[in-house]
């Protein structure tokens, strides 16, 4: 990922997302799930489980992972990779906090 070509878009503030929860950002046809973990970190991954495209934003958030609501795959929010014996990965996006504003990194590099 090249930061130079990245376009940082403000999508909301930290408090918009419930602690240990997620909200969605619609980006054209794609839905990106923005997660807020118990320690107030934010993560952005495509709202699609690598298993059967389950909406990860609807899952239960625990530590740095989310459990998919459809078949309980556990996905790392940081890497997008399935945990345990399952294999597969979902796409991740750069996201950062500026104060309490959430900035999502999109652009040609993504």
């Amino acid at each position: 990922m090249n930061a130079m070509t990245k376009n940082w878009v403000a999508i909301g503030i930290l408090e918009d997302i419930p602690l240990r929860g997620a909200r969605c950002v619609k980006n054209g046809d794609m839905t990106i799930a923005i997660f807020r973990t118990a320690d107030n970190k934010v993560f952005a991954v495509e709202d699609k489980c690598p298993h059967k495209n389950g909406p990860l934003s609807q899952g239960i958030v625990h530590d740095g992972c989310v459990t998919c609501p459809l078949h309980n795959w556990v996905i790392s929010l940081e890497t997008g990779k399935a945990q345990g014996a399952d294999e597969g990965a979902t796409r991740t996006f750069p996201v950062r906090l500026e104060g309490n504003a959430i900035l999502l990194g999109l652009g040609s590099g993504a």
Partner: protein, 815 residues
């Protein structure tokens, strides 16, 4: 060019073959399967645990529907192939589908052999072959009456033990003098018979079936000596016959089975056969290990490896009946050139016999104590000369080379290529390698990565010992099944400690009970949230982030991420106004599907999450509240029309159902609760397979509970009889509260009842009026906080964030 591979049959052998094929050459073939059964590939050798109730069907599925989709395999279920046209290279199914092939694999398995005696086709005579047979047996077992199993071999005895476990009175009829004579010698057969008889199973040997008697359905079996044994269920488990008719019709060489070379090729070079229908070197096979070996060979051949050949090896036999340990291997007939070593321990019920030729093991029978099976198997396979250890051989591996060692040392001493899991052909080195390389800490981990112990499970003990050997003290198999990986405590301990320590938040529970993760996982958090909601209805603030999405969104998530909405229809009654309102909502929101549910209400499917509050607002205006069709809580109370309309009705079953539903809606429970009230014993509301049911009779109300009609099928138990509607309500509420307070999260009432015992539940609810009233009052108190319609709350703005996107980006940002 991708070749077309067509497979007839979808059992374990072709399933395993495809796994190998997809692993080495995922794109070599476009694959089509025709399956005469209406289901996916499941583990047939685990049918016995399903019959005995130790496993559910879901647990024995090998490839779910998703697997076929993922691997681009076309699976035709319920399609029986009726013709193979070898000239045109096509197959045609009974539904008229014709599919061309480049390579064809026939894996039609076998058919149960039905002894041709009069009455063999009466209703109530079953074979034991597939899930349909098991389900038919489970249904028959509900009558708790008499069953006869014809055949005292492996399959017959597993069926007998399973039916006994289901509460039937079981007799085994076997034509030979001792049980399992093909796998056991007489002594072991005798011990087995004794152990089965101790469990209450009657065994008749040297018994020849003359006919099955009965007018319209089975009434019993008559033996050749004139003895008549009454029964309502007869299971024939006398053997199998390779299913080779289709191949024969197509002009392929068939003997007992479909004749194949040692690389599975039939007399037509483009057609292969494997599994129970195939005959290799004059032999047909029925145990899973050789069939899996055929699968490996065929997959290799299909990917162009010309070196792979099938080599038959002796496979050990084990009986999958909990508590009975037997192991048999190889040839153990007596003979001049043979010697044997025998050990008997009558008190312990142990019998061991090793048969030797030229100081090498050729056969082994172990009964009662089978831990050394793998070791004997290894010695036999390697043809080890046992002269040196002859004196101590029979005592097992632990006694070789000096003083007795602990059992793990015996496993530790096994060579890396010693086979541990016979079903899946997994050797010791592969297991210990996976434990080390993948950092596995549990049996489940080993099963996921190596498949060892994942089929019949009889090597579970060995795998656990390997975990112990490899991990040392770090391996800690808890006696109590922990709630999840975040704690070593089981559900019951956690519930007890929540009360004892007055823990009132999830954070407090995790801190005080030393949770190993910072904020739990998707298994423990919903459970803890329920326990706290139940124990502290007034104080605890429900943690929505610890609820599954359905309970958080108050609708049911569907596979495409849309939701379904089910409003309450009290007791299944509705009006024209309600139906009109539903019709209007369906039109307004363009809801794609509307379905009548099994619980007598209406489901609207395919609603976008963003639309849910508006849908609820419109439904709310018509007087609807949430049907909680998504909740681990009270779902439906199904009713019949009772005395209002029915000429047989004895009480106002509709009124009672509505009253119960209005009293109990909104309550959270460990798992869903479905009820039914029938106005007479004809039971039109099917109350006797519900979590709680009522059968009205002239003299009052018979209360039932602990039924199931899901993964398990179970008739209810009778709690007791009461005279008035008020009493019926009080008893049902008290029973539900008892379950709420004691049930483990996700366990339905029947599982809780099995653990606590029907008698104890009856004692507390029927006999102890003070206890009953206390339960009742605690339920009433908790309802003060629970009976809030979640839909109208959300219509008025609660949890807005749940239903709206955080942001919608302009299209240019999306590239």
């Amino acid at each position: 060019m991708t070749q077309k591979l067509v497979i007839i049959g979808n059992g374990m052998a072709p399933g395993r073959m495809l796994e190998h094929l997809l692993e080495t050459a995922p794109d070599a073939y476009s694959i089509t399967i025709f399956n005469a059964e209406p289901r996916v590939n499941y583990d047939r050798i685990m049918l016995s645990p399903v019959l005995s109730g130790e496993k559910t069907f879901e647990e024995i599925i090998i490839h779910g529907d998703g697997w076929y989709i993922q691997n681009n395999i076309t699976l035709y279920k319920c399609h029986k192939i009726v013709a193979i046209d070898r000239a045109a290279k096509t197959v045609t199914s009974d539904h008229g589908v014709t599919e061309p092939y480049d390579k064809l694999v026939i894996a039609t398995g076998s058919n149960p052999f039905i002894i041709p005696v009069p009455g063999a086709n009466l209703p109530g005579v079953l074979s034991y072959r597939d899930l349909d047979d098991v389900q038919a047996m489970l249904l028959a077992a509900q009558a708790r009456s008499k069953a006869i199993v014809i055949g005292g071999g492996l399959l017959g005895l597993e069926a007998a033990a399973g039916l006994k476990e289901q509460g039937m009175d079981v007799t085994v009829i076997h034509v030979m003098p001792t049980l399992m004579e093909r796998q056991l010698d007489r002594s072991a057969g005798y011990l087995l018979q004794k152990q089965l008889e101790d469990r209450g199973i009657k065994v008749m040997t040297k018994a020849n079936t003359k006919q099955i008697i009965g007018e319209k359905r089975v009434e019993g079996v008559e033996l050749a000596d004139g003895t008549i044994i009454p029964a309502t269920l007869v299971v024939m488990a006398v053997g199998i016959r390779p299913n080779s008719a289709m191949a024969k019709d197509a002009g392929i060489a068939v003997n007992r089975g479909i004749v194949v070379t040692d690389f599975m090729q039939t007399s037509d070079p483009d057609i292969y056969a494997l599994g129970e229908c195939a005959e290799v070197g004059g032999q047909v096979y029925g145990l899973v290990a050789p069939l899996y070996d055929m699968a490996r060979v065929l997959a290799a051949r299909l990917t162009g490896d010309t070196g792979a050949v099938f080599k038959p090896v002796d496979t050990p036999t084990k009986l999958k009946v909990t508590g009975i340990n037997l192991f048999s291997l190889g040839d153990f007939a007596e003979g001049e050139d043979r010697q044997e070593i025998v050990l008997r321990d009558a008190a312990a019920g142990v019998y061991k016999r090793v048969v030797l030729r030229d100081n090498r093991i050729i056969g082994t029978v172990l009964y009662g104590e089978t831990a050394d099976g793998a070791w004997f198997n290894d010695l036999k396979k390697k043809q080890t000369d046992i002269t040196e250890m002859r004196d101590t051989l029979i005592f097992g591996q632990a006694y070789q080379g000096g003083s007795p060692l602990d059992p793990t040392a015996a496993v530790a001493a096994l060579p890396d290529d010693a086979e541990i899991c016979g079903c899946n052909g997994v050797c010791k080195g592969k297991i210990t390698g996976a434990i080390t390389a993948k950092g596995l800490m549990s049996l489940d981990g080993v099963r996921a990565h190596t498949k060892a112990s994942a089929s019949c499970g009889s090597c579970t003990g060995l795998v656990e010992q390997l975990l112990k050997v490899t991990l040392g003290d770090a391996y800690n198999p808890a006696a109590v099944m922990p709630m999840c990986g975040c704690t070593d405590l089981g559900h019951d301990d956690v519930r007890r400690l929540i009360k004892a320590k007055q823990l009132k938040t999830i954070a407090a529970v995790m801190q005080e009970l030393q949770w190993k993760t910072s904020c739990g996982c998707a298994k423990c958090r919903p459970a803890l949230n329920y326990y706290l909601v139940c124990d502290y209805p007034g104080d605890y603030a429900d943690d929505y982030q610890s609820r599954f999405i359905n309970e958080r969104a108050h609708a049911n998530i569907q596979k495409d991420g849309t939701y379904s909405v089910v409003p309450r229809m009290w007791g299944g009654m509705t009006t024209s106004g309600e139906l009109r309102a539903i019709a209007d909502v369906v039109d307004k929101f363009a809801i794609p599907a509307v379905k009548v549910t099994g619980g007598q209400r209406i489901d609207m499917l395919g609603i976008k999450k963003e639309d849910l509050p508006a849908v609820w607002a419109d439904l709310g205006k018509a007087g609807f509240v949430s049907g909680q069709a998504y909740a681990k809580g009270l779902r439906t109370v199904k009713t019949c029309v009772g005395t209002d309309w029915c000429r047989f009705g004895t009480q106002d079953s509709t009124g009672l159902g509505i009253r119960i539903e209005k009293f109990m809606w909104g309550s959270w429970t460990p798992a869903k609760v479905k009820m039914g009230v029938s106005g007479c014993p004809r039971n039109c509301s099917e109350a006797t397979c519900k979590d709680v049911g009522v059968i009205c009779v002239d003299s009052g109300y018979e209360i039932h509970f602990a039924g199931a009609a899901g993964l398990d099928i179970l008739g209810t138990q009778v709690l007791g009889m009461v005279k008035t509607e008020d009493e019926a309500l009080e008893h049902i509420v008290a029973l539900t509260q008892m379950y709420r307070e004691q049930g483990r999260y996700l366990d339905r009432i029947y599982k809780w009842a099995k653990r606590i015992g029907i008698a104890e539940i009856k004692r507390q609810i029927m006999d102890d009026a003070d206890k009953r009233k206390a339960y009742f009052e605690r339920f009433v108190f908790s309802q003060k906080f629970a009976q809030v319609d979640p839909w109208s709350e959300r219509v008025s703005g609660v949890d807005k964030h749940e239903f709206r996107p955080l942001a919608t980006l302009a299209l240019e940002a999306a590239e």
